[in-house]
Symmetry: C2
Amino acid sequence: MTDETHDPSAVSWVDGAGPGSDFPVQNLPLGIFSEAKGLRRPGVAIGDYILDLVSAADLLDEEWREDLSQPILNAWLSRGPETHRALRQRLFELLTDERYRDDLEVHLIGQSEVRMHVPCLIGDYTDFYVGIHHATNVGKQFRPDNPLLPNYKYVPIGYHGRASSVRPSGEPVTRPRGQRKPPDAETPDYGPSRRLDYELELGMWIGRGNDLGQPIPIGEAGEHIAGFCLLNDWSARDLQAWEYQPLGPFLAKNFLTSVSPWIVTADALEPFRKALPPRAQGDPQPLPYLDDPSDRASGGLAIQLEVTLTSARMRSEGIAPHVLSRGSADAAMYWSAAQIVAHHSSNGCNLQPGDLIATGTLSTDSDEGLGSMLEISRGGKQPLTLPTGETRSFLEDGDEVTLRAWCEREGAVRIGLGECVGRVVPPA
Amino acid sequence: MTDETHDPSAVSWVDGAGPGSDFPVQNLPLGIFSEAKGLRRPGVAIGDYILDLVSAADLLDEEWREDLSQPILNAWLSRGPETHRALRQRLFELLTDERYRDDLEVHLIGQSEVRMHVPCLIGDYTDFYVGIHHATNVGKQFRPDNPLLPNYKYVPIGYHGRASSVRPSGEPVTRPRGQRKPPDAETPDYGPSRRLDYELELGMWIGRGNDLGQPIPIGEAGEHIAGFCLLNDWSARDLQAWEYQPLGPFLAKNFLTSVSPWIVTADALEPFRKALPPRAQGDPQPLPYLDDPSDRASGGLAIQLEVTLTSARMRSEGIAPHVLSRGSADAAMYWSAAQIVAHHSSNGCNLQPGDLIATGTLSTDSDEGLGSMLEISRGGKQPLTLPTGETRSFLEDGDEVTLRAWCEREGAVRIGLGECVGRVVPPA
């Protein structure tokens, strides 16, 4: 599905929507915003602006207006890909054709003037673990000779996370308290986490759902993914190490999850799909319910990823953010987005519009592409040094972590996912 | 807080609300019901009837009516215990005083004539693991010498479950498909679970929530619990054994969770509270954030529990349900309801009105009080025999499992939680 909305020569009449922007007219992600005293409502990002879809509703199909005037996008997402493509085509037309400029300019608001919100009421948030290098790196810290468990290459491992504490980029990261038991301590105590970490992940927003008891076949899974975002799965490693047996991480994770606010549609990412790498020799083929020719041909996502850190001192001294990692999603993911969705519903579990599903930490196999401090500092044993000379094994109060993602290749216009930011503050 | 609403001599004028009923006037649980073509709306159980709180709204405080006319009880639950007590007192007055009989009888509907629903829109569902004998029994199957992990007596272990697949009692239990890898198989395959099981649990409905970053102190935790229900955490043991490392159970559980439809309030259970047993010698005292004098004095719930099974053949031959277990909640729970809530929010995680929190499987330390087939059949090694001569290691298609719970003691009127039923059907 490449059509005129991917035409690399198309340019919007909106300022700042040119090459290099995260939000050219080939992107057109939806989000929920509000002005100082205004209601939450849907908008589309274009350049440095948001087109207000409520005030501009006269220019849209009448049949879309109710769902595009809600403070959450669940109903809109439930409509499925055909309708989403029709909106994309209409917005592309409006934002490239100079004749609409006078009508539409009044409905543009600077992105810096609004507040962005989590775009959906999240029924369920699920976190997967498809970053095989992350799983290997973490596994090595516990089992040097056998880092990956026997199920990893058969089962897209995932678990349920906390929906209530998913917050938009920019919300403060309050250092959680919890039970901490260092290996040399006899008993645990309760206090602020000493090993606060971030995790670089992608999120998927579910569009159309499925009924309970009706698995989504792998060949249809892509049609259920409305779009993507960045996601930071903030993690308290000391709480995690002590609590996670036998039922998995809980309080180590559910104090906060941050998402970038824009739903970058599967359509916008279409030019950046690529074949999944063939399974390495010795690796099992996916079971049939996880195997699909079209997914094999185009299930990979060539999304570039970057994480930076700024300490309080760096900010006060005007020092630029320090790059913690650079990598790409397709180099990190052992299972594709479609495999994740097919597996999640393979037992009949019902996904619902607006559900959030994350990939798990996306690390590449190189030291430059590690998606968490746990990996970068080798479990705290090799602190990194910031430009100020400060060192970090884990995050300190005042540290700000920024996730960024974008797609670019010859012959296509660069598409951005925006950014996902959080700054650590001490507990109240 | 015992008041006139616990007066054992009080009797309702409603038929069937006498001694032995699950729903005497000392109970008064809320639920959401609908008639054949009617809307979902709140009602209160009394004897064999439901009092329709929408049609009877004129007799209630005007200020309550909006929240008590919704199709979900979230807004009502958010109001907190004072308001809930005021409704309880008003309903008690209306349903015991003969003078209201003529006005109210028209608003009574037979429970057998309605359909009950999940009473809240569940923002998050969390499952704990506080049944120490269950944890020990299951642990023994994996680690005979060391069944309980080192964190168990410090951390109320819990994990997030699936909100979308929580269903009311009576919904069919579709046998899930998934990856199965018997110990003697080289590789897994995908097909219907061969080890389908139930788990006997209590559920708690959260009333008032807490803000993100603001833990609920243990001394206030009880005020955040609006009420209790029965919960069946259906489990596919073969899927679970293969998938659960390292992030916990996922598809083995999230295909269905059944709840009894009535929210039995903390107030109704007040006469059945008891002291928590002191920690056994050698067991650690709870950390201060989990320790509270009033919880120690009255945090135990003397709730009787029973599980029965009926096979298709037993039904066709008219044979009575077979009792699988009988026990009590206070004999099963290592951590109290208040400790569960305090721990869940101890890292700042925000609970919301209508959240569902389950205890985990409640087994006693005797063979008569085991809360799952996994325990009864010793992991499938010792099948049980039904009155028909049929044997069961796990559940077969057509099997119906019924959970029941009630409280009784000298000097108080018996209170029931109702029942939670599910019948296994083959996958589509």
